[in-house]
């Protein structure tokens, strides 16, 4: 039997998902042994033409990390979709937009203006901007174009499965690899399309070992302002912990280390909008019935949308900030 083929690709991402694959330690040797890796630009020397030369659906499984924010990302998303039998959105960028998706708080025009004109270290008196197509004596040069709105992978192509996390935790990757090997070796049925793999359907709070009591918050604090109690729920201590609105599966690592959950696993099962769910959760625990005091307590939430949507703005209900000229 020929080996099943595996592809890994990165679009708009930091490379942390690739590191997470390598962080599976000896498992990566097992992966390389079981699969024929046909595309992995981060770790091995392949060209786009190597993928184009494959038949449609020839790649058994592609783990696609990174958001879609340029014409090149989009082209590669379509190419990997066509060549893969199973396409998996791997990591928070592909699934929810993640940190690259924070660009949706501003506009492409504003980003270019800052980077090419206004930043203190820029000297560009002729206001030169990158051109997508440029003719030179040697021929025509082409650059991919950035988009104004960052998209998630499922928004632009059909996706079979989702593995969330920034990055997906190595233990979860190992579990997913074991499940895939089991399916391919023993003919087990595939999980239903759209299944979220390598994560818990419940909220991060379910994995959190901290003591929970009735939450009554009269003021929010920022992490550098307090030394949190090591045993008690961080939200009860006034720290904005995204746990109630975040999918579990990470083992609550941040919270165990005394750092509030930032929400990297995206919304839990059944929740579409992580920020709105966090607004709902906080509304339930603020301890006041006086409208003015409520306004004052809420004003103490630092960078509300940046905190609520740190990992999921492009996948949220509103998808981007409305930037009026």
């Amino acid at each position: 039997m020929p080996k099943p083929k595996l592809g890994l690709y990165w679009a708009a991402s930091c490379g942390g998902c690739e590191i997470a694959v390598l962080d599976t330690e000896l498992k990566v040797l097992e992966i390389a042994d079981f699969f024929d890796i046909v595309f992995w630009p981060c770790a091995m020397d392949f060209k786009y033409d190597d993928v184009r030369a494959l038949a449609d659906g020839e790649i058994t499984l592609t783990l696609f990390n990174g958001a879609i924010r340029s014409s090149e990302n989009y082209e590669m998303a379509k190419l990997m979709r066509a060549k893969s039998t199973v396409l998996c959105a791997f990591g928070s960028c592909a699934a929810d937009g993640c940190i690259p998706g924070l660009a949706n708080f501003t506009s492409l025009e504003a980003i270019e203006r800052y980077v090419y004109d206004e930043s203190p270290s820029t000297v560009n008196p002729e206001h030169i901007r990158p051109q997508p197509v440029w003719d030179v004596p040697e021929g025509t040069l082409r650059l991919p174009q950035l988009w104004n709105t960052v998209r998630t992978l499922p928004q632009v192509v059909d996706v079979d499965y989702i593995i969330p996390g920034c990055p997906p935790q190595p233990d979860q990757i190992k579990a997913v690899v074991d499940a895939v090997v089991d399916i391919l070796k023993n003919g087990k049925p595939l999980p239903p399309k759209g299944t979220v793999l390598g994560a818990d359907p419940r909220a991060c709070c379910e994995e959190c070992p901290r003591k929970r009591d009735v939450k009554k918050i009269r003021a929010f604090v920022r992490p550098h302002e307090v030394v949190p109690d090591p045993e008690i729920c961080l939200l009860e201590q006034g720290l904005i912990c995204m746990g109630p609105a975040t999918r579990g599966g990470c083992g609550a690592k941040c919270v165990k280390a005394g750092v509030p959950c930032r929400g990297c696993y995206g919304p839990p099962a059944g929740v579409h909008d992580q920020g709105a769910k966090m607004a709902s959760a906080l509304g339930g625990v603020i301890d006041s019935t006086d409208p003015e005091e409520i306004e004052r307590i809420i004003a103490g939430i630092p960078d509300l949308v940046g905190t609520f949507y740190r990992f999921s703005l492009p996948a949220s209900t509103l998808r981007r900030r409305q930037v009026r000229p």
Binding site: F308, R320, R321
Partner: protein
């Protein structure tokens, strides 16, 4: 054609929905722009509902519940009273005018008041104009056209 606001109203079963009923049986005139959704309590109105309404064509969302102290479930309206300001702040930071979401207390006997609230809210949203979300849907045809235009490696 003049702009007619498309409004969604979440009305609590015990006070405000009954208040709206009273407005109807008392033949009180108010604009027909509000599409009413009955919920058991204003505390049931998840901020998700409000964002979903705005993302799918509503120009404004009105939430009505029992007056403070009158909640059938004792404190549901207090939860709503805290969720709505957070939702409005969230909308403001997302570039959407927070006036598009309004919370009002309407009791079962306040049919006249319900009519006034709907009239005022309709006029306010009419003055704000339609909420047309930028680049909400992914335009595959435009993205494909961009690829084709670039040609070369990216065709």
């Amino acid at each position: 054609m003049s702009f007619e606001p498309n409004l969604v109203g979440f009305l609590c079963n015990w006070c405000s929905y009954t208040g709206a009923d009273l407005a109807g049986t008392a033949r009180i005139k108010y604009p027909p722009n509000l599409k009413v959704i009955r919920v058991m309590c204003s505390g049931r109105v998840d901020p998700n509902f409000i964002l979903e309404a705005l993302a799918h064509g509503a120009d404004g969302v009105l939430v009505c519940g029992c007056h403070p102290g009158d909640c059938h479930y004792v404190e549901g309206n207090y939860k709503c009273q805290r969720r709505l300001p957070i939702t409005r702040m969230l909308l403001g930071e997302m570039g959407i005018d927070p006036r598009r979401v309004r919370l009002e207390w309407v009791s079962a006997s306040e049919g006249v008041r319900f009519g006034q609230v709907v009239s005022e809210f309709t006029e306010e949203i009419r003055s704000l104009g339609p909420l047309a979300l930028q680049e909400w849907a992914f335009d595959a045809a435009a993205a494909d056209a961009q690829l084709a235009h670039q040609g070369g490696d990216h065709a």
